[in-house]
């Protein structure tokens, strides 16, 4: 039973890490810029397809993952300046309509270029085999997800908590008007943060392709999960996204194990309960707390 508990925990955490990697960018757009960005999953999808395209042609997996992050970030920078910027002052309905439109365009483009079938990312052979971790054989890929997710979370935490950039970003999330008043270039901060967020989504799309498999419907299929992570965690809260992603990953895995038939409902029931308990999210940013 002990070993089984550990297995479920590892499964839940590795799943949660992917959710966190992809969602952390979304928490920025929704918390910092107040843009309901339903197209966030499209950036993860595009990153994943870039990694898939490169690895299928023999490119090193890690280089391909970096290229995926770079491609998604570049696309993020361009779209922030051209598509998202005019949206900041528009109402939420306009934001929802435009970003969902972007999802359909991305889905259509991916179908046209890569076809309607699932598109595999080729992982290095040692990641696709089970690994002996003492008490049992466990997929090396999942351990890799946990390690890379934890490394990136740590890096994000260091930057956000200890750098001037992080201080500015936190200031802008907590009170954008005051941040402007004290001379922070919020506009530049938006572009750079949006770019990084999209890059992380692209990276998550590439690394996580072994669990959230790539297909044209990706952008629409998983965006609900990403939104749930952001809302449960608290809009604009990095710690919140992390806690929420872990919690949802573990709840989902436990549900599938113990009450397989009810698992899809269990996840959303848990979300419902968490939001009743903490309507502003598990770890809301100070401006909302």
């Amino acid at each position: 039973m002990g070993s089984f508990g550990l297995t479920v925990l590892l499964d839940g955490i590795s799943y949660g890490m992917i959710l966190f990697l992809i969602s952390v960018g979304l928490t920025v757009t929704m918390g910092l810029m107040r843009v309901v960005n339903l197209a966030h999953g499209a950036f993860a999808m595009i990153g994943g397809y870039v990694a898939g395209y490169l690895t299928q042609r023999g490119c090193n997996f890690y280089l391909a993952a970096l290229a995926a992050a770079a491609a998604a970030a570049a696309l993020g920078a361009v779209t922030e300046r051209t598509i998202y910027r005019p949206l900041y002052r528009k109402g939420e309905l306009a934001q929802v309509l435009l970003t969902i439109g972007f999802v359909f365009v991305a889905t259509g483009a991916v179908t046209e270029i890569f076809g309607a079938f699932p598109y595999p990312v080729v992982f290095p052979p040692y990641l696709t085999r089970p690994l002996d971790i003492g008490f049992r054989q466990y997929p090396a890929y999942r351990l890799f997800l946990i390690a890379s997710g934890a490394a990136i979370a740590l890096l994000l935490w260091l930057v956000l908590d200890n750098s001037l950039y992080g201080a500015r970003l936190r200031a802008a999330v907590d009170n954008p008007r005051m941040a402007r008043a004290v001379g922070i270039n919020v506009s530049l901060l938006f572009t750079s943060t949006f770019t990084v967020g999209c890059g992380l989504a692209g990276l998550g799309g590439a690394l996580g392709a072994g669990i959230l498999s790539l297909e044209p419907a990706y952008a629409l299929k998983y965006v609900v999960l990403f939104l749930v992570v952001v809302i449960v965690g608290g809009e604009g809260s990095f710690e919140g996204s992390f806690v929420a992603a872990m919690a949802l990953g573990i709840i989902d895995t436990l549900g599938k194990y113990f009450v397989a038939e009810a698992a899809p409902y269990l996840l959303y029931t848990a979300v419902f309960a968490l939001l009743l308990w903490r309507p502003k999210g598990l770890v809301p940013p100070r401006s909302l707390a």
Binding site: T128, P139, E215, A260
Partner: protein, 399 residues
């Protein structure tokens, strides 16, 4: 002036085109060419075009007249049964089609039951695999397969090949329930034991927890029925990652390993045993003919699948019916002609059930193997002329 001229010219052309020669028999093909199920339409069309390119689209009738069989393609756009019904009405009322065909999804076929009866138009079903469909209209003829037909032979085969305990995991939708029911029923009847069963959400891709339960149950084999695409790929991946394959638990399935989908898997899938009505590597002359023709017309990347071959066989039935009865026969006369028809399909010998108007065909037990660096299905056994078992379990009720 130029514009007026253009209008007059195009109107003339339209009138001219509309006055089609009397010996054109139109056939309306309904399928999803766009949207979530967009893979079906083009496969049907390739099957029709390949058949007509090889065998001609004009047949000489017993009446000594020439009849041209003209297909009209309509896109149901993955929008469901209402769209199928609306397009079928247009094809019948406006285009005066003599036959309807295509129909990838069961709800689309069911939506045409009333129209086919009112307009007396035969409907040749080229996929839609729910057993009960052919009972819904006397104008329905099916040339594809049913889910129980493909699944039922696997249970006895497993029981006869050292597989005594099986865990089943199926996708949570109607075809999944059919597959689960018929695998369990036939496997138990042959002396096997089911040690556990689970149903997974239709679009599931995270199977780790399910695989843990299978691992603990220690069955001889795991039976899967998953939609081809992300779910089936993720399923096999989890099966290997969780060490089930290494533990010697065999993997059984059905349509997941079709040639069209095999490139999505890694060699993890090697050794998987499935039961299905078409194996791409069979060397029957009809199969070689179909494959050569499709590759010649649509390039090396074109992969003929069950949709291509059902369209190929369906086109053949329609053209033979017109050749025998001319272009103006009653709908039921065409259906009667098709009943009991036996022929060599690229999949193997088939017969149209004279009572049920459903296909009777061999079901093949195949194993996935690697040949020349490619994954392929290889026949290891076959069950001859399988009739849809659901029909046997549910005899027609006397009116």
């Amino acid at each position: 002036m130029g514009r007026l001229f253009a209008i007059i010219t195009s109107a003339t052309v339209l009138l001219w085109a509309d006055r089609a020669p009397a010996d054109v028999a139109k056939v309306g093909l309904l399928a999803d060419f766009t949207g979530a199920f967009a893979t079906w339409g083009p496969q049907f069309r390739e099957g029709v075009e390949a058949y007509q390119a090889l065998h001609g689209k004009t047949v000489k009738g017993l009446d000594d007249k020439l009849h041209e069989i003209q297909f009209i393609y309509r896109d149901t756009a993955s929008q469901g049964p209402d769209k199928a019904r609306q397009l079928a009405q247009e094809l019948v009322l406006h285009d005066h089609v003599r036959f309807l065909c295509g129909l990838d999804l069961s709800p689309h076929a069911m939506a045409l039951a009333d129209i086919s009866k009112e307009a007396k138009v035969p409907v040749v079903i080229m996929n839609a695999a729910t057993s009960s469909i052919t009972r819904m209209s006397p104008y329905f003829v099916r040339v594809s397969q049913t889910v129980p037909q493909d699944v039922a032979p696997l249970g006895p085969w497993a029981a006869a090949h050292d597989i005594k305990r099986v865990y089943t995991i199926v996708s949570d939708y109607a075809p999944g329930y059919d597959a689960e029911a018929y695998f369990i029923k036939t496997f138990k009847a042959a002396g096997g034991t089911i040690v556990g069963s689970a149903r997974t959400p239709q679009q599931e891709t995270n199977f780790s927890a399910y695989m843990e339960r299978v691992r603990e149950a220690k069955p001889d084999a795991l039976y899967m029925f998953q939609p081809a695409g992300s779910p089936s790929v993720a399923f096999v991946k989890a099966y290997v990652e969780r060490g089930l394959k290494a533990a010697g638990i065999k993997l059984l399935g059905g349509g997941e390993t079709q040639e069209l989908f095999l490139p999505n898997f890694t060699d993890d899938i090697v050794g998987t045993v499935t039961s299905f009505h078409y194996t791409e590597t069979n060397t029957r002359p009809a199969n070689l003919e179909l494959r050569a023709q499709v590759k010649k017309m649509f390039g090396d990347k074109a992969v003929p699948d069950i949709a291509t071959l059902a369209a190929w066989d369906g086109t053949r039935l329609i053209q033979e019916a017109v050749a025998a009865l001319g272009g103006d026969a009653e709908g039921l006369q065409y259906v009667d002609f098709m009943k009991g028809k036996k022929f060599d399909s690229p999949r193997g010998p088939v017969e149209i059930d004279p009572v049920e108007r459903d296909i009777i065909q061999n079901v093949y037990i195949r194993r996935v193997e690697e040949r020349d660096g490619r994954l392929v299905n290889i026949d290891i056994d076959e069950v001859k002329m399988v009739k849809d078992p659901w029909k046997i379990d549910h005899p027609p009720q006397a009116n």
